[in-house]
Amino acid sequence: MRISTAFTQTQSVNSIVDQQARLNETQLQLSSGKQVLKPSDNPAAAAQIVNLNHSIDTTKQYQDNIAVAQGNLGLQATTLQSANDAVQRLRELATQALNDSNNANDRKAIANEVDQLNSQLIGLANTRNASGDYLFSGFLTSTPAFASTGNASAPFYSYNGDSNQRLVQIGESRFITDSDPGSNVFGPSSAGGTDSLFDVVKSFSDDLKANTPKTSILDQLSSALDKISNVQSSNGARLNALDRQQTANADYLLSTQTVLSNTQDLDYAQAISKYNLQTTTLQAAQQAFTKVQQLSLFSFL
């Protein structure tokens, strides 16, 4: 075949330029660590990468949600434990006060401690979390859960929250409540009722001050303790569920990230050997070009 001098030269230059473009592509892949740089590199993988990234980000958000729920439930757990301790102590005091060997003064002294414990309990029921929300107020997070009514007769305390429980999403279709309404923990059993823990304790204290303690207080305190313990155990169960979901999410994240990495990340060993090969090819093309260009019959004229 005849060779056209100009065309051959253009072709050689073009092939060098092509080599450079390929080398550049590999270089971009190496510097970004990705084999899919734009959707056209692998259209099927591009859609998959969007979905995988979405799953990963969403699952990370679930993990964040779990951390928030853990914070709230953890705070609730310690608060409930303190309340539990206080009610235990109240029961000890009640048993002691009911003993007939106590005189009016003794009972007044006990009443003082009972009052202290009651205000401690109210403080616990009005605990706020890190963002300043009242833990036991249901959705009314800016309202203290319990407040004194100022009444001369029971109820002395009212529950000012509502009965809602906040849900937090912790998995694709998994929600968990990260709070309990104060009425479930401390009473009263019905709105405006007089059987809240604080009313019970206040009546007990008043009875002590009047030197007429009633034995029914023991049952009342027991049932209050049961209520707190119930919430405590459900609280613990939810914390365990959070831990399990956290592990499940972490496993899912790991496997999804592995799939994502397999889909979009570069096989460095392969890429580097490709890079080396392309560099060699480019050098060979350049050297061949200069060699061939020196071959001309005119050099011998």
Binding site: T5, F7, P39, V68, D133, S142
Partner: protein, 548 residues
């Protein structure tokens, strides 16, 4: 005796021409469109000298160009095919870049928006969390606007490309008319069928340039001129004519951004194939418009779905949620075809109760004087209009209403999704107005609606089967697939073009080594002919000397 001198002189002249042509070849080694030339020599008629015939030397019969008409035609059609693929691929890869690398496109911003709804759910009373949610809503709409803006830029670029191609075609067609004239004159002057090689080369180069812009068919005429046809046989240059037809660009009657190609004021857009013109048109119709519509559907459905959910909730003051996103005062453009005189007017609005039904298409509503028909332009499907125009009708996620009845034939272009990504904006700035609560009377800790908003992230809200994020993933993958195919096609066309160019070059291209060899050959022949003259002189001298 005189014969040896005459013969030698004819040789000198012939080899002089051959050397001229060789050096012309060398001089034009790098000239685009140049076909190498060769001097064709024929021996002069011999004369009878009784005992036989004796040769009288050599004649230059022709200076011909080495040229293959068939391969030239192939080069032209490969040039057209390659330039179409090249223009298409260049533009498609720009959309590919806009839609972008999967981690920097719209998808992560959508995910971040829903994540921030989750953060509001975790802490519904927190003003900072609500603020973050609102700024993410703003980022989402800005990213939509940004991509839409880049699509607009690509549209302007495509229109500019079309203008450049049209101007080039017109200029080349004029130049071909001029060359036609010169070639006809030059061919007429030649007595022995000789051809004006360099004019022909120039015209071939121009035809090739024309083919870069548009698919042409070339028909040679008897007198040396050529006729050039485009599209389905529309005349661009007529062999005998002194004038070329003029291509021009005109606004479509319903959208000034949509350009039509006209030949002598007749619209021929749909008939144009090949070349940069064909590449740009097919990019606009197959990549740009569908992508913009798909993006518009995504933006519009997103805005409507989020607004609907937001309206179900209540803000910190217990007021039902206001719109989180706005799609502008006139989300759907309705343009009347000015070429029909029927008048009337139609209004179209989004059907917010059915955002999922929105399709990535424009619509044409025709009135024939007695009844309406609606055509979905993406698949040319006719859509039923029950009760219309007596009552408004909801189709494919938008509501049509007749405001004034037309008096005669009329037509409207309706674009429900086209401007969605361009129009979307965040409508709320006050964080207390984020409707996180599920009930108007509950407290600031109510996160019911915030949870539902966050849940939209994994809800199948597009066409009832796709989430927003994977809707975007599909768009990216569609554009990616088109660009990928375009890249493969471009490289295949490039190979074909190179192959035909190579065949052409191997026939018509100048090889310097060959010319060097010819140079030596013709120089030797020239010297030999000169030597013959010197011999003829010494023979003459010998003869004169005999008489002294």
């Amino acid at each position: 005796m005189t014969s040896i001198l005459g013969t030698a002189l004819s040789g000198l002249a012939a080899f002089q021409r051959s050397l001229d042509t060789t050096s012309n070849n060398i001089a034009n080694v790098d000239t685009e469109g140049y076909n190498r030339q060769r001097v064709e020599l024929t021996s002069r008629d011999s004369v009878s000298i009784g005992s036989g015939f004796i040769g009288q030397g050599v004649n230059v019969a022709n200076v011909s160009r080495i040229y293959d008409q068939f391969i030239s035609g192939q080069v032209r059609s490969s040039t057209t095919a390659f330039n179409q693929a090249d223009a298409y691929q260049t533009l498609a890869s720009q959309v590919d870049n806009v839609i972008g690398d999967p981690t920097t496109g719209l998808a992560p911003i959508l995910t971040a928006f829903f994540d921030s709804a989750n953060k509001v759910a975790n802490n519904p009373a927190s003003i900072p969390a609500r603020q973050v949610f609102l700024s993410n809503a703003d980022s989402v709409s800005q990213q939509f606007n940004n991509v839409a803006h880049q699509f607009d830029t690509l549209r302007s670029q495509t229109n500019a490309n079309l203008q450049v191609s049209v101007d080039d075609i017109n200029a080349d067609a004029k130049a071909i008319v001029e060359l036609n004239k010169q070639i006809v004159i030059a061919t007429g002057q030649a007595t022995g069928g000789q051809q004006p090689n360099d004019l022909l080369d120039k015209r071939d180069a121009l035809l090739n340039k024309l083919a870069e812009n548009i698919d042409i068919s070339v028909v040679p005429q008897q007198n040396g001129a050529v006729s050039v046809f485009v599209g389905q046989g529309q005349t661009l240059v007529l062999g005998g004519s002194n004038q070329a037809s003029t291509l021009s660009l005109a606004d479509s009657s319903t959208d000034p951004q949509h350009k039509e190609i006209q030949l002598n004021n007749q619209t021929i857009t749909s008939q144009i194939t090949g070349g940069k013109l064909g590449g740009n048109l097919s990019f606009r119709d197959n990549v740009l418009d569908p992508s913009q519509l798909q993006l518009g559907v995504l933006a519009t459905t997103f805005a409507e779905t989020v607004n609907n959910q937001h309206a179900l909730g209540y803000d910190l003051s217990g007021i039902a949620g206001a719109n989180l996103f706005s799609l502008g005062s006139q989300p759907i453009t309705v343009v009347q075809n000015p070429n029909l005189s029927g008048g009337g007017s139609i209004s179209a609005s989004l059907d917010s109760t059915n955002p999922q039904a929105l399709q990535a298409s424009d619509y044409r509503l025709d009135y024939n004087g007695s009844s309406y028909s609606l055509t979905r332009l993406s698949d040319n499907q006719n859509i039923a209009l029950p009760g219309f125009p007596g009552a408004s009708v909801s189709v494919d996620g938008f509501v049509l209403q007749q405001t004034t009845a037309p008096t005669g034939a009329s037509s409207f272009l309706i674009r429900p999704a086209f401007s969605g990504a361009q129009n979307i904006s965040a409508a709320l700035t006050d964080p207390t107005k984020v409707a996180a609560a599920g009930s108007s009377s509950s407290g600031p800790g109510d996160n019911v609606n915030a949870l539902s908003l966050a849940g939209l992230a994994s809800a199948t809200v597009l066409n009832g089967s796709t989430t927003f994020a994977s809707g975007y993933g599909n768009l990216a993958s569609n554009v990616g697939a088109l660009t990928n195919a375009a890249t493969i096609n471009r490289s295949a066309q490039n190979t074909l073009l190179t192959q035909t160019q190579q065949s052409q070059a191997s026939i018509s291209g100048v090889n310097l080594d060959e010319e060097a060899a010819n140079l030596i050959k013709f120089q030797n022949a020239y010297q030999a002919a000169a030597q013959a003259i010197s011999v003829s002189r010494s023979v003459f001298d010998t003869l004169i000397g005999a008489f002294r």
